[in-house]
Amino acid sequence: MDQKIKIIKALRTLKSNAEYVITGSVVTEEDFNNIGWVTGESNGIAITTKTNPHSEITWAAVKAEMDKL
């Protein structure tokens, strides 16, 4: 399965309503730390932060879910 599919399935499993933006694939912890988490909007465009606000979504948990796929 494509890595781009694995990451969104893993995130949906861990927290189905988390809003994020991912450029490219997430393969490493460094990639995970570059996920943009949506915190609001301006002029209809999402505002994101690299600071993960979702305690349920950790790299360890995401990798474990991705490894199941």
Partner: protein, 178 residues
């Protein structure tokens, strides 16, 4: 009834053909012209569950329009995209224009539902691929550079979409002179 045919290329016929005789009545012809054509392809991938628009990274710049009366025809074809199992969800695709670096303006529907997209009902299914293509005729009313960028979003954060699972997207802009 006998029918006579005239080969106008040999007869040297000139002048105006009146409307009553099947012509337009026009004494001159001023066709529209293409001022410039610019196009960009992009094979990068963006995944989101955002309910507000995020950039796809697919963008094109139309430099220095010829006149304020010029229009710009924008054509967009997405790469192969992907939807995770997200019943009863929409993805909306739109265009933002930035005229003379004055800020981004959504050219899509005022409801923030864009130009094109995808809908999945509650029917049971696995995973889906989708594609978005649309055209838009823009009147910037400016001679400044215009940057057009494709954005997309979902209607519910429980849905997940990938723009650019495979392949490449294309955006083409043509300046139409008045």
């Amino acid at each position: 009834m006998a029918i006579s045919k005239i080969d106008i290329s040999k007869a040297g016929i000139t002048g105006t053909l009146a409307a009553a005789n099947g012509g337009t009545g026009a004494t001159s012809f001023s066709p529209g012209k293409i001022g410039q054509v610019v196009s960009t392809t992009n094979s990068s991938s963006v995944s989101t569950s955002s309910t507000t628009f995020v950039t796809t990274g697919l963008s094109v710049t139309v430099p220095s329009l010829t006149a304020t009366s010029s229009k710009v025809l924008i054509q967009v074809d997405s790469p192969t995209c992907y939807e995770d199992n997200s019943p009863n969800s929409y993805v909306y695709c739109t265009l933002y224009a930035n005229i003379g670096s004055a800020g981004d303006t959504d050219l899509g529907a005022s409801s923030s539902k864009g130009f094109s997209g995808w809908y999945e009902s509650g029917v049971a299914y696995g995973d889906l691929g989708w594609n978005a293509s649309f055209n838009f005729l823009h009147s910037p009313s400016s001679t400044a550079d215009v940057v057009y960028t494709v954005y997309f979003r979902t209607n519910t954060s429980s849905a997940s979409y990938v723009w650019g699972l495979e392949g490449q997207g294309t955006i083409t802009a043509m300046e139409i002179l008045a």
